[in-house]
């Protein structure tokens, strides 16, 4: 597991999605008959793919649409939706600015402070339309926003930072006591992001109802480039799953882990489940949806950082409805549409009837080599019974 990288020092080899593949077992299952559900604090969701708290992806309408399709979309409480009474005007502006001025515009837009009454308003709007109100904020705002969330009957509360641990050291400001916070919240609290066995276990022990797994997972991601920090998602998920299973054995409590980031195609999602994820969280794939507030644009939440921006606005285009992206029919063959269809077909081909069984599928190390012209493959017909 650990290689020498110099005299007296070893390092673990970690693996990402592009380096592994899944191997069919001794049986196959009709894809229509597999169970893809997962649970948070006992509540069941049929779609184990969550939409990330990004301003180009989730607003009130998107959250409602996602809920009705069986999934969860997370609203960013530190973003445009809670800074502006009328976010559409601002989002329209972002979608019309030039590429050169996008970062500066976004930086300036995020200097307007968050309005607490807008938090309450957005939650109510989601609930009124029958949606699941899942909310996210940074640790510094957790206590204040958490209370507002509870008062307005939100369903799930997420405290998210690039790196989350149980211990944060500072003399300059008061740090958030995560254990106390979890205890104080009457609704499920999901914490993240983390990547190691130890931290996953500690965050489960202090009362998290779910964990976001993933730091700097993208191959060319900015956090890794700027800070040097990151763990490839397959290893991060395997490690976190190990902690979850250990915690379950000790306590009987099964805390779901949600692999977050670095998945672009259906195949990546399938691999995350095989590595041990109970659910996944994705951003850019949903930015393609007609319902996404980004109008075909997408930007990371660190794009707005005043001093050290890590991300920029990119044009992703609008390729279909949220329903198309989740359930198809796919109009393209690159794995970016019909994500649930891909997951079900994969589970069927692998003989996994449930997400839990997906955790036991054989993984192989098989680096992908990008060769032009090597796109076709003989016998791409799927499903034995069809």
């Amino acid at each position: 597991m650990a290689e020498w990288i110099g005299i007296g020092r070893r390092a673990r080899r970690c693996y990402g999605f592009d380096e592994i593949a899944l191997v069919p077992g001794a049986q196959t299952i009709n894809p229509n008959e597999v169970d893809t559900s997962f649970k948070i604090d006992g509540k069941k969701f049929n779609v184990p793919i969550m939409a990330a708290a990004m301003d180009g992806v989730v607003d009130v309408n998107f959250a409602v649409a996602m809920s009705k399709l069986g999934g969860i979309a997370v609203l960013n409480l530190d973003g445009i939706q809670t800074r502006y009474e009328n976010p559409d005007v601002v989002l329209e502006k972002i979608s019309h600015t030039s590429a050169e001025e996008a970062t500066t515009l976004i930086q300036s837009i995020y200097t307007t402070p968050v309005k607490e009454k807008l938090i309450a308003k957005r939650i109510k709007q989601i609930k009124e339309k029958g949606g699941i109100a899942a909310l996210s904020c940074i640790p510094a705002h957790a206590e204040k926003f958490g209370k507002i969330a509870m008062q307005n009957n939100a369903d799930i509360f997420i405290v998210q930072s690039t790196v989350t641990t149980t211990k944060h050291v500072s003399r300059e400001y008061k740090t958030l006591d995560l254990a106390k916070f979890c205890k104080s919240m009457k609704i499920p609290v999901i914490l993240g992001n983390c990547v190691t066995y130890e931290t996953t276990l500690e965050l489960m022990q202090i009362g998290a109802s779910g964990l976001l797994i993933g730091i700097g997972p993208g191959a060319a991601c900015t956090t890794r480039g700027v800070l040097g920090i990151g763990v490839p998602q397959v290893t991060a998920t395997v490690d976190a799953a190990g902690a979850r299973d250990f915690h379950f054995k000790r306590t009987g409590k099964y805390i779901p882990i949600i692999t977050d980031g670095g998945m672009n195609r259906g195949g990546d999602i399938c691999k995350a489940f095989a590595a041990g994820a109970d659910a996944v969280m994705i951003g850019s794939s949903f930015a393609h949806a007609k319902e996404a507030p980004g109008r075909g644009y997408h930007w990371g939440m660190a794009t707005s950082h005043v001093n050290l921006p890590r991300g920029t606005r990119i044009r992703v285009g609008t390729t279909g409805t949220l329903k198309d992206i989740l359930f198809g029919p796919a109009k393209v063959d690159d794995g970016s549409q019909n994500l649930m269809g891909a997951l079900k077909t994969s589970m069927g081909s692998l003989g996994a009837g449930t997400i839990k069984q997906m955790h036991d599928v054989e993984i192989i190390i098989a680096p992908s080599i990008q060769t032009e012209g090597k796109i076709f493959q003989v016998g791409q017909r799927v499903g034995m019974g069809k």
Copy 2:
């Protein structure tokens, strides 16, 4: 063989064609004197390269031409040839549509149902012209089409799906009993695709006369991208060959394995044999043939999938006759022509007089790095005796 990919979880490192190379031994042989033949149920074929059941590759004329050259071309019973009385009209249309509309057109063309009388007709056409009638269909059609094939004196019957196992689970529909099916057929039945030692062995034990090896083998293949599933072909072939040799030792029956997919050049084919293949099945290389019905176009059989298409029409161009592709003379130096010449020269240089001896050639792990300008090599003269 297995590396740790995270705490408590290991994965095998698997290898593809681009990662290996073959090493000459202590002798060389005159390439003209090597024996490339293989057998299916006792019947010998001099060309161990089969043409895949793809609609852009095989029609009646192609099957006849291939048979006369000593090989086997497989007709797709679920495709255009059995859906349309006059397939040329339809194929002409596909070759003239724009790139944007190709997938939609192909999807609509494949909604016309298969006509059973056309199956009989195509078999008769092949047989009348002296060809070998090798046919392929998906498991759901196997019982019905298998009977028609036998009634019309077809030679070989192939049941093919992306992932084939001896056990398929479904409550929704009746699944095919492969063992019973093999027993009921009076002609050789080839099954596939599979990749593991266990499944290969099980499919041999239930009566297959041959197996197709390969799931998602292409480096950038869609099944791996969309479903996350795939095993690199060298490892898949080595594993399947192990099962074949074990089965032979136990039962005395030598069931050939046919490596299917992911081979683009002569060198890839040579490597497949070195890994243990008795024959190989290729698609796109044959799509280049003048005789191929695709008119210089090629598409995977999953392109027509209504809900989750995995593949698109690509232009491959027509580069020569089928004879040129198999026996040369090659007009290009990229390994796409004179495949049999390449195989024979490789066997001669490696000192392997038969395909069986090719199985014992030394393989090394030698990742290929694509460097422009590094194309030439000193001393590329071949053949000691010439």
Copy 3:
């Protein structure tokens, strides 16, 4: 640690920045409260990033500006600043010549001999403006220039060649006795470059006050291409750090090692510290500065080599002030600006309060794969307390 590369011969696998990543531990720290300082001969510097002795990067003004920001910029005593009374005329010429004629022009410019009085002048200019006079020359000039440096109260003297060892063999000319030289100098002497444990230890034992680590580190660097020589910087730094720690244990003297070369982005710098560096030396990132004499151009010191040039003039562009590059605000998200902000944020996220603690951060092997479109990542918000 060592793999067989052929019969009877083994080789160590070494690692570069692109192959590793850093893993957060059990705590995080407020980035504003971390200590980034390092010491040379007891003198403390708050910015552990040195500017390399390259003519497109450092002149008198740059050295002064760098000193005032807390760092060290090294003036090249064998370059344009000491060959020309008025270097700006020459630098202007280099920046206006065509790409084709740049190497020839640079070669001719460097044929004008170094003037000793200009060495004295430059040192005085730096000191008068309150800067730290850190100077560098090749071994052949060390004795002569070293004396001038001392006479003019320079602060730090660097003797630098591609490969430095304690023993250089020649019958043709007199070689420099490094031990004697170090002893003769009354100011700190930094030696380099070196890469191995043994040589690092030997150079510490003969009296160096600091060492430059790195030979041919750049992935596509010319020394490796032309001479075949080079050690990836992570392994080189880990090995040198091992020697430093051993030397400290034996003698009680802590000699800082300065990783020199191959770092392009903030993340690379963070990784160098994690590998064991006390400081880093970079060139091209500073060539982007408004204060850099290269006017947006940059060239290696071997570009001027008469017989075997290794490097050429490249246009890097001017992207901001030296202060922007060191402390931000970053206007781009590629890790080339706000290097100190990146280092502090990384240290905070990793829970390292000092450079010494950075040496103990967990490193993983995680090859980066460059995938277009995989730029964004979910949850890029940094800093738990903000």
Copy 4:
């Protein structure tokens, strides 16, 4: 050394030039004082870089020029020089044809039979001008051409095919008895190409005076693509060097091994020597020379193969005289010029005073990653004493 590539089968990991680098030791040497000579049958040559027997590289004048500079250029006896009384007319034609028609033209040019009197004439021309007459032909022509060579006082005779072994099997034609042939020749005979320890040893035992090492070494080379055959040059050289050293220990005869192919830059050549080569043979680098008969074009000897061409004519351009390429001054910084300067500088930096000492230099595994913009490196000044 051997990894599992599938159940029951292992393969050695082999290494190429791009995967290794050289590490400086405890001393350095003045590059002007290193000894680069090697010997064939007791005769010493100061330039250990041979020019390959390719028609775009070597003719009479080139051979003479190379001899005078201290090296050896090999004339191809199966090529244009011995098929045409006036080869310049033919070479002119090749250099003026279009890219599309080049292969066809070359194929037709090589159908004109070799004229034995021209072999004698070319040898005489070389000898008259004071050159070393080193000649090469394929095994089928060895007996006949060998006699002519001896009668005309040639210096070195090379029998070369893609794969050479001591045993070639054929019923169709009479095979060459290499042992008998070597014995019959009164001038040194060099054999090749080979790659394994066993074959190297056998060819030494039957009387070769030198061996060419390398089969399909180029990263994107055609032999590997078309035939699947090839061994990366570092491993091939290390293995062959092992056989040479064993043979020397047993017999006291030191037979030089000449690494042939796959080297593009000075660094590759240095690595070949570090891996154990006594000399290297290169083609394309010399095709750049003003003296090369290819007029800026280059083609592999298999380009002319009637049935299975492996190579095409490429434009390399004329960049300098042969003297520039061997001894500089280099006008470019990519390692393609001043090859001897690069070798001497490398030997000096590595502390190797002789080619024999280069064999003991430390090799590391350090994959090169091609990153644009990572071209510069700090401190590229070479030579401690200068």
